[in-house]
Subunit: 331 residues, 2 copies
């Protein structure tokens, strides 16, 4: 069967077929790490890894590759730094079909944090950047590409950016060696109509550039899963998800929902259900994430969720006051 | 401004305009009543009513009009029966713009449970029926129509029905005097693609029949809100929602999310936020509803959520066993 899929009409599936270009990327540890400062126990990370292997996930993001000179390893767990020995403690030589990804943050991750490919079990470097960081991000991405890694460019917070700036940004990014360019809904603010427009914009910008488009969503308005499948139907190939939506604030597209939608027989939901019973049910007693009213409000108002995270951490419930404070901050 | 909207091109809104044909129906007490056997305190029901008035909701469904000979008033609260005196205790003469709706169940509600219109503060009778109950449902609906009520036909569990049977059913229903015909996703099983196809089917069947289309969703796959806005974009006019999604199993489309999407200045979110703080936050300590893994599984497998409700009530967490038992029951 033809594995090669272009950004055009070939990418059609029906509810009884599947598209081989679809790749699922689990970012439970990385986006979930934003909730607990990357302090996951090895046992948990290893269980996520084993589950990803068993259920046919294509990539697992182990965390960030922040430089320890920039953030304090006393305050942040190993998955904020993803040193090679930490990753290998979990995956060994990773003799599986699951590929390993890590995320680089501009200003916090540098070329020296990326080993030569032959010394690493990492397969993919994902570069996350705001629009003003594009030059620095491209420099890091090209270094990773030259070292032999697959690369993605995750342009963040685009809902705060004008159409013309976004077009310009995509024009530049599509000239890079990034293998995948991600449509990222950082604030969980987009409705399906916007997701469709943006997906078409990204696909169109990628046309002829030998790139795939990916999508990363947040669940502020209970649309993370809906928008992910909306985008994939139009031709997005790389789908980010986290187990039970574990991730910053309202969390992400839940992997188990996505598994229910995807028809490729390589994907299996049962080991994922086992992981959820064993690890997520007890974890919900210790960590808090997922849709709540304050996240809905920041999503509706296209704001970063940090104010909502503080409001919830402080166990406040005066939603009206919170709502007006968000409106005031937009003036 | 022209208030009259047909089922065609006139129904277009953009994100800065609004469609006057859109009507929001709050069914918090009715669908929420399925969680607690309709045992809401008067104070709670009155607060829902006052909130609906303040935030510009168009209809509030007070509950069901089940005959007390069929179900035991010792076991079910007043909102399962909605006798006139109970409703008036909450709404008085209802001198507001909010219309009052109640739901009739086939086999449990009869003509004698529907007062002459002049003796009632109820404005709308919603008739809920399975496909084999259509003749009985139409008899009840026509009686309500003849008495002077607005009427809706809510055909349930259509995901278990063949396309040809559904077409036939819609053909019959569209010849009735129902003012609104509802697209109902009883099991929370539909993806946006199916919702779009079904919305077009319902709109097309209603063409020239002087009817509006409504939508009622369940949140088993976190798609209740997404599917509601997807359907409304295509021309659905009546939108069911419940406060914080309060409703059977995974619950419904959350009213506060819908309020964030609708741009008609008559709708206000702030009093709704106040209600949520005062009533929903404490209620969550006593009642359980909303998305959970077992509801996801019944939704993915197009099954009634009753097995999931029992699983959750029994505080079980063996999701794999539950999943296989659902598969077995489909054999």
């Amino acid at each position: 069967m033809a594995e090669k899929i272009t950004n055009t009409e070939e990418k059609k599936g029906t509810w009884l077929t599947f598209r081989p270009d679809i790749k699922v990327l689990d970012c439970t540890i990385r986006d979930g790490g934003l909730v607990n400062n990357f302090n996951f126990e090895d046992d948990f990370v290893k269980a996520v890894y084993n589950t990803c292997v068993e259920i046919g996930v294509d990539y697992m993001e182990m965390g960030k590759i922040v430089d320890k000179k920039v953030m304090d390893p006393e305050k942040y767990g190993p998955w904020n730094f993803c040193e090679e020995e930490d990753i290998r403690r979990i995956v060994g030589e990773n003799n599986t079909d699951l590929k390993i990804a890590v995320m680089a943050d501009i200003g916090r991750s540098f070329k020296e944090n990326i080993l030569p490919k032959e010394d690493s079990v990492v397969d993919m470097i994902r570069v996350a950047a705001y629009i003003h960081q594009i030059p620095a991000a491209l420099e890091l991405l090209e270094d990773a590409h030259a070292k032999g890694y697959e690369t993605t460019f995750n342009l963040m917070a685009i809902s705060k950016v004008s159409d013309s700036h976004l077009d310009e940004a995509l024009g530049i990014i599509m000239e890079s060696n990034a293998d995948v360019v991600y449509l990222v809904d950082s604030f969980g603010t987009y409705y399906s109509e916007s997701i469709r427009k943006l997906t078409k914009k990204y696909l169109s910008a990628a046309e002829g550039k030998n790139k795939k488009i990916g999508i990363h969503t947040h669940n502020n308005q209970q649309l993370a899963y809906a928008n992910t499948i909306e985008s994939l139907i139009l031709g997005t190939s790389y789908l980010d998800a986290t187990i039970s939506g574990l991730g910053r604030g309202a969390g992400n597209c839940p992997l188990e929902l996505l598994m229910g939608f995807l028809k490729n027989p390589k994907y299996h939901i049962v080991p994922l259900l086992k992981f959820i019973e064993k690890y997520i049910v007890p974890l919900r007693e210790q960590m808090h994430w997922g849709y709540e009213i304050p996240y809905m409000l920041t999503g509706q108002l296209n704001e970063h969720p940090r104010a909502a995270m503080k409001f919830i951490d402080d166990k406040e419930t005066d939603f009206i006051n919170f709502y007006y404070s968000l409106l005031d901050s937009q003036e």
